[in-house]
């Protein structure tokens, strides 16, 4: 999974003089004292150009939705949140200078969001060294037990996506037996991280599986497709961001107009992916043959409603923003920004070394914490001297000791408009069986 990999918040460079003010604060003072003054900035550090240019906008939309949720309620101690794009071009060589430039030229960074698998390995240490909380969209396994304290991941590691896909084969309803599975992922290290856990789990369940890596971005995959078709798979596991349309189009073409059922990762729940694939095999085939996995979003409730309304309003700044209403990464990053704002208020500090640990407390909640769903609810509770647990637009969060948040999977499909349709949820028992079968 390329997108959906890293999200990180960057926070402001430390200012020692605020420590005295924060010493008393576990509840929120919003006077602006320890929180400083002037606008705060959320850096959206992601690809906005290059092969993965479709990823950055999803994260930018999250920030545009989160900013008014905070600003319309007094900001963070009176400070308004703003969003700025920092283009990594999806290349580590471009990403590292972009991260350095972002940090060097902005002393008001409260958090960083974005950092996909394209550049996470390059930028996460830089952002961490600057002591800025980050919410990254990567599933890379190297972050499963990261030692970067400012790193946060609200999306699952790729291996869990792989297990979710195997879950479709094992527990998904209304499909014939899928005994032969073709794995079609990019030939880069990040994309191939799905392969081993999926292979292990599928073989454990007695399935025949074969890996057919492709070079993402190639202009055609005809020989690769022909080779895959010779395997006669019942179903294809794929992600292939940026190349899925071409690949699946050629599958249909070379398979005499017949699309083979395919299961996508959670990153394939994405308007760009939907448009790419429907553009080549048609909406009807996507609705009929696509299966996907996602985290258990409800797309409802107070938090989601506010998110959705703000996303609609963000269209005046970014016309495509409303398209990301069901994009998991957009929901998660929105929550990440809200939680960071609340953490700053809760600690009455603009110092990320002070408020960074509070993010986890607010996400997981502590004993007796009041559950809040919006920034305003959180602010009110903090001002009343309560501790809080934020359950946001994407639902509950549950950070482990490595700041990885993991929640249950659902099996999904697309409707004709590109909306997500939940089929069933995987039970904890099913998830455990899959995870045990994967053995990683």
């Amino acid at each position: 999974m390329r997108e959906g990999r890293l999200r990180r918040f960057l926070a402001l460079p430390a200012s020692a003089m605020v420590l005295a003010l924060t010493a008393c604060g576990t509840s929120g003072g919003s006077t602006g004292g320890g929180l400083g003054s002037g606008d705060l900035l959320v850096g959206v550090l992601a690809p906005f150009s290059g092969a993965d240019a479709n990823l950055g906008p999803a994260y930018y939309a999250a920030c545009l939705a989160a900013a008014p949720a905070i600003n319309n309620n007094g900001g963070v101690g009176g400070r308004h949140v703003t969003c700025q794009k920092f283009d990594t071009r999806g290349e580590p060589a471009d990403a590292a200078p972009a991260a350095n430039q972002m940090i060097a030229s902005n002393s008001n960074l409260m958090a960083v969001v974005g950092c996909t698998s394209d550049e996470a390995s390059a930028v996460a240490p830089i952002v961490d060294k600057a002591h800025i909380p980050m919410f990254c969209m990567t599933g890379q396994s190297e972050f499963n037990k990261t030692k970067l304290p400012y790193f946060h991941r609200l999306v699952p590691a790729d291996i869990y996506d792989a297990y979710g896909m195997v879950g479709w084969v094992q527990y998904g309803p209304n499909h014939p037996a899928w005994n032969k599975v073709a794995l079609v992922f990019g030939d880069d290290i990040g994309s191939q991280s799905f392969v081993q856990p999926a292979t292990n789990a599928l073989q454990h369940f007695g399935k025949t599986v074969k890996n057919f890596p492709i070079h993402l971005g190639a202009s055609s995959f005809r020989t690769e497709v022909q080779s895959m078709l010779a395997f006669k798979p019942d179903v294809i596991f794929t992600e292939a961001l940026g190349s899925a349309g071409t690949y699946l189009g050629e599958v249909k073409e070379l398979n005499s107009g017949q699309t083979i059922p395919f299961i996508g990762t959670s990153a394939t729940i994405d308007p760009a992916w939907f448009k790419d694939v429907t553009g080549t095999i048609g909406v009807n085939d996507v609705v009929q043959y696509y299966r996907g996995v996602d985290l258990g979003y409800t797309f409802s409730g107070k938090a989601y409603d506010e998110f959705k309304a703000n996303l609609q309003a963000a269209a005046s700044t970014f016309a495509d923003a409303p398209k990301y209403g069901q994009r998991g990464s957009t929901l998660h990053l929105y929550d990440g920004i809200i939680m960071t704002g609340l953490a700053m208020v809760a600690t009455n500090s603009k110092d990320p070394t002070v408020y960074n640990p509070k993010i986890k407390d607010i996400a997981n909640g502590t004993s007796g914490a009041t559950v809040v769903h919006t920034y305003k609810e959180g602010l009110d509770a903090l001002n009343a001297g309560k501790s809080i647990k934020y359950v946001g637009a994407a639902g509950e969060n549950n950070f482990d000791q490595y700041n990885n948040s993991q929640s249950g999977y659902i099996l999904v499909k697309y409707d004709a408009q590109g909306g997500e349709v939940q089929v069933i949820g995987l039970t904890p028992e099913q998830t455990k069986k899959l995870s045990d079968a994967g053995g990683i």
Binding site: S49, G50, A51, D52, A53, N54, P57, D187, F212, P213, I214, H215, G217, A218, S219, S220, F221, R222, T223, E224, Q226, S227, A230, G242, G245, T246, G249, E250, K252, E253, L254, S256, G257, P271, A272, K275, D276, G279, T280, D320
Partner: protein, 294 residues
């Protein structure tokens, strides 16, 4: 074995697409001494022009002409208003490469807010699949192969039998001498940019059609294969680019069938490196730019 034969068929398609792109690219260099790294972006811009025409219910084959026309005009304007002023100031070849790289980035970034970052596809992306034994080609792909052959023959005829073609070769061989002999080299160069720009636009639409779907980021991939074929054949040599396209197109597909798709590009570029080691001037550069054309 059947996969190998099928891959050969796919190689023919790749070869056709690469040839259309590589010949225009190499002619630009051979005649105007310009390594135009913005070529891939002009290709993709032309593909988008054709896409918008196609969305307006114009057949992709007609829209292809629109793409070619756009490529011609756009390339001409880039040369007139960007490259030529730098060349007049005596900017060295390496400097011009950097200028073209800058133009490439400017085009890509200027296009982004216009065309967006979503993939698009032509309406006629699917056509009947025809099987010739183990070779399976769609009607679209067969048309692309035929189109490439026709265009290559037309380029051959242009360079060999027309006054303009002879003037191009003369300009390529020695611009000053050509000017002194009464050849209006500036107009010849304008014509070269129009013709190669049209080839570029045509190649962009063909490559986009062949890819089923394309995005603004596809330009880089298109450029790399065209560049490889042009260099392999001998920079500045249209016939060399045709041969380079045959080799790159077939080798990439066959190696994917014989070994693994992982090695597809590795094998193609290994051959390129090998040729460059054994024959640095490329396969057909023995007698200088465009000389083989005559």
């Amino acid at each position: 074995m059947s996969l190998l034969i099928a891959a050969f068929g796919f190689g023919l398609v790749s070869m056709a697409v690469i040839a259309l792109a590589a010949v225009g690219f190499t002619m630009q260099f051979g005649i105007t001494n310009m390594i135009n790294l913005a070529y891939g972006e002009v290709m993709i811009a032309s593909a988008f022009v054709a896409y918008y025409l196609n969305q307006a219910r114009v057949s992709v084959w007609i829209a292809m002409l629109g793409g070619a026309a756009f490529g011609a005009v756009f390339s001409f304007l880039i040369n007139r208003f960007v490259y030529t002023p730098f060349q007049r100031k005596g900017t060295a070849l390496l400097g011009m490469v950097i200028v073209s790289l800058a133009v490439s980035l400017m085009i890509a970034n200027a296009m982004l807010p216009i065309v967006g970052y979503f993939s698009v596809a032509y309406r006629e992306r699917f056509s009947h699949l025809l099987r010739f034994g183990d070779i399976a080609l769609t009607v679209n792909q067969i048309v692309i192969i035929v189109l490439a052959v026709v265009v290559m023959l037309a380029i051959h005829a242009l360079l060999r039998y027309t006054r303009l073609g002879k003037a191009m070769r003369a300009t390529a061989a020695n611009p000053m001498l050509a000017r002194n002999c009464g050849i209006p080299t500036n107009r010849v160069i304008d014509a070269v940019w129009l013709i190669t720009g049209a080839l570029c636009g045509l190649a962009g639409v063909v490559a986009a059609l062949d890819s089923d779907s394309f995005t603004i980021a596809s330009g880089a991939a298109f450029l790399i294969t065209a560049l490889a074929a042009a260099v392999l054949g001998g920079a500045g040599q249209p016939y060399g680019a045709m041969i380079g396209a045959v080799i790159i197109g077939l080798v990439t597909e066959l190696s994917a069938a014989v070994w693994s798709p992982d090695y597809k590009q590795v094998v193609a570029f290994a051959i390129l490196v090998l040729v460059m080691v054994l024959r640095p001037q490329g396969l057909l550069a023995k007698r200088g730019a465009l000389a083989a054309a005559g």
